[in-house]
Symmetry: C2
Subunit: 363 residues, 2 copies
């Protein structure tokens, strides 16, 4: 292990406010009505501040799709059987899944990681089709005890850090998070309920599409898991170990690794945002490096984005996961990087500036 969790947490710094101002100055000089590119300008400012450059390249992009299984599926919380996690990993490797298609379109790579799938994927790992950081064959059932040990939570988190480190070392300029794990909206909503103090019913959704009675059961399962395990909201590792998942801890680590290395990380939907909440809890400045890809249909996601203080780029009624929202949003993020690096200013372009302009409009 090149980087311990402690070293990474101690090394995460907020982005430099002076660079934000420098970037905004440049953006205000572009030959467009002030602020008329809206959120693209905010993203450009963030990228410039992260990279400390007015030419913040994010062209080399990787979506990391972390897979893990969940003991809690025994409680009937998902519309799909557990074997689908393994089957979808095979689909990712075959290139026929949504994340393959969306990442290719965005010009991003996809790396699938076995964080804890309840099946033997060693053949795929040996052929280097996936990365293996398998902690166990799925978590334990959270209505019967903690999902994992604290040591396993740290191990999963440090796997995410190591993966970020690997990609940054190999020239990746922007990471995206993704997940695959039948049942994983249940721990994600549980994590949110713990961190936010909101009642599970308010922050729980239908995941892959369960019936009314299955939804009621899912809420009860989350309530039970929290009552039994009593995760401490001030201690993210306690929350991750008691009601989390291997892929969720891995995502938290990936995000922390990106922040440590000062590259932007695009957060996908509900499951990725649960990881982001844990990352923020461990290192508040990590949010400076996070970009929220989209607003999921899952009702809990808006509370996660609020807690993270992030504004989603897209709102397309997505609720798939895999990193699909992150892949789609990467195109917009990369576009914003080119807005600041390639567009001409009023002076450069020989365009007359505004007269009688309302400086405060949309400021």
């Amino acid at each position: 292990m090149r980087l311990s969790m402690e070293k990474v947490l101690a090394g995460i710094r907020p982005v430099d406010r002076a660079w934000r101002l420098k970037a905004r100055e440049r953006l205000n000089d572009l030959a467009i009505p002030r602020n008329s590119l809206g959120y693209l300008l905010d993203l450009a400012e963030q990228l410039a501040a992260i990279k400390e450059s007015l030419n913040p390249s994010v062209a080399r992009k990787m979506v990391v799709t972390m897979a893990g299984d969940h003991g809690v599926v025994a409680e009937g919380v998902s519309a799909f059987p557990q074997e689908v996690t393994r089957q979808m990993v095979s689909n990712f490797v075959a290139g026929g899944a949504a994340i393959n298609v969306l990442a290719e379109m965005a010009g991003a790579g996809v790396t699938v990681v076995d964080m804890g799938v309840a099946a033997d994927l060693s053949a795929l790992a040996e052929k280097q089709k996936i990365l293996s950081y398998k902690i166990a064959y799925g978590t334990q059932n959270i209505v019967k005890g903690p999902a994992m040990t604290r040591k396993q939570a740290v191990q999963a988190l440090e796997a995410g850090i190591e993966i970020a480190d690997l990609f940054v070392t190999n020239g990746i300029e922007m990471l995206g998070t993704g997940d695959m794990g039948i049942g994983n909206t249940t721990p994600s909503s549980a994590i949110l309920a713990v961190f936010s103090g909101r009642p599970p019913r308010q922050v729980t959704g239908r995941g892959t599409g369960i019936s009314d009675s299955a939804f009621d059961n899912k809420v009860t399962v989350i309530e039970k898991a929290i009552a039994l395990n009593k995760p401490d909201p001030r201690d993210a590792l306690d929350v991750l170990s008691k009601v989390g998942g291997f892929e969720i801890s891995g995502i938290a680590g990936l995000i922390l690794g990106a922040a440590y290395h000062r590259i932007p990380v695009v957060i996908d939907g509900l499951i990725s945002s649960a990881g982001a909440l844990a990352a923020k809890n461990l290192a508040p400045s990590a949010v400076d490096y996070m970009i929220a890809a989209h607003q999921s249909v899952e009702p809990g996601h808006q509370y996660m984005l609020e807690a993270l203080g992030l504004k989603p780029i897209l709102n397309l009624d997505l609720r798939l996961g895999e990193g699909t929202g992150a892949a789609l949003a990467m195109h917009i993020v990369e576009t914003s990087s080119r807005v600041i690096s390639k567009m001409l200013t009023f002076a450069d372009a020989g365009v007359t500036g505004p007269q009688n302009q309302e400086r405060m409009a949309h400021a």
Copy 2:
């Protein structure tokens, strides 16, 4: 002229409902929870129905940025002087404008058209840097009379048709609309006020960013122009000629040409949507071929989208025009085309389907 307006209007057909159903059947079989790719699936269905194919390619893309000037700028409705229209055309040709950067990122071409800029652009046209369909050196001032003659409105519209025809003949599979014209939010809001019957104050915005007093003046100008010219909301050519613009008529024609040739056309913001409203008025089935790129900050735009019955892909607080929203959205549209053509079904991928799934959830 290969295609008259009459021929095109008579030739626009609604998309085939049977193809929509066929597309949705395929999308429902993809190895994802049903509807979990949200609006991407709706777009994929629309593309498949437009192209009558489950492999609806839209890879060859062109944004057409139509430029024109407006006599009404004499009334002080814009924060920028009229010469900026010409200067921005030069910036487009130089490749340093937002539309150049955004279209390149989307893999789309950009074609700039002089529909009626108040400057001699013949040198650029001769060097084939822009297309010239110049109707006049800007429209007339709409507070003093009609913007143009009915004949000019038809001429501008047929120019748009001819451009669509030209690109379709040359293999373009998806068009995007764009505009450049200092002062052109004023005719756009006027067109909306006429078609919708809404008061100008409700549908008028700050355009490139004018002060409170300039905004009040802009509303008064629109009220005066409508009172003086009395455009007939049942007659789109009357509306276009009395309170329109050359680039707006050209955009309406481009949209009609796309619908006639059965290719999708991505509508940019306020000005493009004003053209789309006119196109819908002339040929209601043309909306089947329209895709709304984004929700503009301009307050009138939401009423336009409602009138068109279109749902915007993006909501990024854009208010620039040029076709920038269309270029950004094209990536999402193209992604949706690949979702239907490249993703594997449950059966193809060997993935177990849902159990106990709520079929109505998000249906």
